[in-house]
């Protein structure tokens, strides 16, 4: 190593820079260890124990994991969660993309800001408030949806007590609440599509659909991919609105989600070991699906 005249390189300086780096990283690292890594390791340990939170734990080997194979309610919760998550991803990606396309074409800047704010606004409302709001809107006796459906001769279903309608209703409410986030991501992605490429495509004689399919969507694919991954991870952990609107899994467990089931087992049945095993299953599923999404992305996500 050569050193320019007057330049000082000392191990003290390198060490100093190292400590600065550690100092900057340490708050985040500490929070990660306390709130993510610590509980994660604890969940792994607990999944091999039987523990009711009030008396000492007992080693249970792989008993909690084998129990999952014969747990019909767990399968039901998993099925509901996958239905919810897949529906959520599809409706969010399509809805968010179309809304972004529409808003991006608005000529009036003021109107554009107004629509953006309006679409994003529900996302900043707490889930508890959203859940109660929709309980009013879809009330089977007094709800405004019930009323207006009645006005046009349609008998409103009992949205939250009918097992056929409870999950679709939750999917729709979730969409209303969180579509603003997907929309903003899509809009940001859309605005990074170079205008000259679209102009070039049009000059080559492409119609609107061809521009969208052959230029816009391919260039938007990294954004769509990101939105898909984030939406799936969020949807798979759905808990608050389902618990508030249809407590304990709703009619005939129609809205029982996997995180809700985990909560029931851990904090109502006091089967903390089993709940920990279920939480690891949730983690494994989310990791596997995300890995699958990354693998599939190689085939369709545009890379620069």
């Amino acid at each position: 190593m050569t050193t320019a005249p007057g330049e000082q390189v000392t191990t003290t300086g390198a060490g100093h820079r190292g400590w600065v780096g550690v100092a900057f990283v340490s708050p985040a690292a500490l929070l990660f260890v306390v709130f993510i890594l610590g509980p994660f390791v604890a969940a792994i340990i607990l999944s091999f124990y039987s523990w009711d939170m009030l008396t000492p734990s007992k080693f249970n080997g792989i008993g909690n994991f084998t129990q999952m194979f014969s747990d019909a309610t767990l399968y039901k919760a998993l099925a509901n969660t996958f239905i919810f998550s897949i529906a959520s991803v599809i409706t969010h990606l399509i809805g968010g993309f179309l809304l972004a396309l529409g808003v991006n074409r608005l000529a009036s800047r003021a109107l554009s800001y107004f629509v953006r704010t309006s679409l994003f606004f529900p996302f900043v409302i707490s889930w508890a408030a959203v859940a109660l709001l929709w309980k009013y809107v879809l009330d089977p006796t007094f709800g405004i949806v019930t009323y207006y459906l009645g006005e046009i001769g349609i008998t409103s279903p009992d949205w939250f007590t009918d097992p056929h309608w409870a999950l679709p209703a939750i999917i729709a409410i979730d969409w209303w609440h969180t579509i603003g986030f997907t929309f903003i991501i899509m809009l940001a992605g859309l605005q990074t599509v170079p205008g000259e490429l679209i102009e070039a495509a049009r000059s080559d004689g492409c119609n609107g659909w061809q521009v969208l399919w052959n230029v816009t969507i391919p260039l938007m694919s990294p954004t769509i991919f990101f939105a898909g991954v984030i939406t799936f991870i969020g949807a798979f952990q759905i808990f608050d609105p389902v618990q508030i609107i249809t407590p304990n899994g709703g009619p005939d467990n129609a809205t029982l989600t996997i995180v809700m089931y985990l909560y029931q087992k851990g904090f109502q049945s006091f089967q903390v070991g089993y709940a920990s095993a279920v939480s690891l299953l949730v983690f494994a599923i989310m990791a596997a699906v995300t890995a699958l999404q990354f693998w599939a992305s190689k085939k369709w996500v545009h890379s620069v």
Binding site: P39, W51, G143, F160, T161, P251, D252, Q268, F270, S276
Partner: protein, 443 residues
């Protein structure tokens, strides 16, 4: 000192979100808990000076009343301060979950206010200090207290709250279930106010006439809160969810099926808004759109707030076969791990006094005072609807709200079945039979 949290009688809100995602990290603390409890002296010590930690269930309004109660205790015992932690859980199941989680995390209070729903759970885990030696030592106080309460309370506290015959709880206030009638709605519909003991048929006839004449609903029928939504109908038909020993599920008996069928009939006839929505029963009651409210003592607080005391008359729950009401009561234990058992006992002794019962009743307590003399005194009936004395009388024919150790799971099974039966998701018989099998597996 509450038995049921103040909430909409027909629409209790439900459980909260995860309390501690990382509760698992508390394993070491938990494993050492039994050892902590081993240091019990097993008997009374000289009362000391210091701070007692106490956990109870209560929302903001109830916390205000509890704090007044603790202040009153502090005036009588200036050396002992109560550091109270009011948990605004939505029901006793959530409260038990929260307290259990706190205990698991090593935060062990000296005293916990445990409702019937949690008594077997707490005592069966070996967390509580036997109180027999304390009771024996202070006979002058305890004998007078036990002589002054309904004998059922003592009997049930031992029968259901003790796995080994020893005493772990001092019974506190209790709740039964009665029906609050809106006299204006009855009058407007030309329906005579019911006698205290009225029948299902009379109830149905009144509902029909009130609906036709005023458009008001008779009752907010629900399924999420068994204490009011389910148990009164079962018990007034000689049924229950399980037998008196809480060992055998009885949710599919012909009487239980008949009760659920009757409630479904009321719902189908439109005498109640459809469940599952956002119906605000107290508000509708005040506006003359609801004829009755079901509940224990706690609706009295709503009735006062809505200035409906003079327009309300309390009667028993209508019956088909016999009078019936669930009974839930507070149990006050001392935790085995407490290092201030003597001070804790001083507080429990004070709670047993007439002075404490009267004080709590006067500041708007949400239950019926344990001492019968207080429950039937003017302190309790003042600024309360006519017929309030029926609340304490109901304990004589009532039955303890079934609360086995796996109470939360049983409750979920019961409410789901009642929901399915009422909303027609399943036939009444099929729903109750399926739940009965499930419940039996939990007992």
């Amino acid at each position: 000192m509450t038995d049921k949290k103040s909430e909409s009688p027909s629409r209790p809100s439900r459980r909260s979100v995860l309390q501690f995602l990382g509760a698992g990290a508390a394993v070491p603390a938990m494993s050492s808990l039994a050892a902590c409890g081993g240091g019990s002296s097993g008997g009374p010590e000289a009362a000391g000076k210091g701070e007692l930690s106490l956990v109870y269930l209560g929302d903001a309004t109830q916390q205000k009343a509890f704090n007044q109660l603790f202040d009153a205790f502090n005036k009588a015992h200036p050396d002992i301060k109560i550091k109270a932690n009011g948990i605004a859980a939505k029901d006793w199941g959530s409260f038990a979950n929260t307290v259990s989680t706190q205990i698991a995390g090593g935060k062990i209070p000296d005293i916990v206010d445990v409702a019937t729903e949690g008594q077997q759970l707490f005592s069966s885990k070996g967390l509580l200090e036997p109180l027999d030696s304390y009771i024996k030592k202070d006979r002058s106080v305890t004998d007078a207290f036990y002589a002054g309460i309904d004998p059922h309370l003592k009997e049930w506290t031992t029968k259901y709250g003790s796995p080994d015959g020893r005493t772990y709880f001092i019974p506190g206030g209790y709740n039964t279930v009665v029906m609050y009638c809106n006299t204006e709605v009855f009058s407007k519909a030309g329906v005579d106010l019911p006698a205290p003991d009225w029948s299902w048929d009379e109830f149905e006839k009144a509902a029909k006439q009130i609906k036709e004449k005023t458009g008001a609903y008779m009752l907010g029928i629900g399924y999420g809160f068994p204490f009011v939504d389910i148990m009164p109908w079962l018990l007034t038909n000689g049924a229950s969810t399980m037998d008196a020993d809480w060992k055998k599920a009885t949710f599919d008996t012909p009487e239980a099926i008949e009760a659920a069928t009757f409630v479904k009939k009321l719902l189908d006839a439109g005498y109640s808004p459809k469940p599952g929505g956002s119906f605000d029963a107290p508000s509708a009651y005040a506006k003359g759109k609801l004829a009755t409210l079901g509940g224990g003592r706690w609706p009295t607080l709503d009735i006062r707030r809505l200035k409906m005391v003079d327009k309300t008359h309390i009667v028993n729950w209508p019956k088909n076969k016999e009078n019936g009401s669930p009974v839930g009561w507070d149990g006050w234990p001392i935790l085995k791990a407490s290092k201030k058992k003597d001070m804790a006992w001083t507080f429990l002794k004070w709670l047993m006094s007439k002075e404490a019962g009267e004080f709590y009743a006067s500041i708007g307590g949400t239950n019926v005072p344990a001492l019968t003399s207080v429950a039937q005194s003017k302190v309790f009936t003042k600024d309360a609807p006519k017929g309030s004395e029926l609340l304490s009388k109901a304990v004589s024919y009532g039955a303890p709200i079934p609360s086995p150790a796996k109470g939360a799971e049983v409750q979920t099974a019961v409410t789901k079945a009642w929901q399915a039966a009422l909303t027609g998701t399943s036939s009444v018989e099929a729903a109750l039979k399926k739940a009965n099998t499930h419940i039996q597996g939990l007992l």
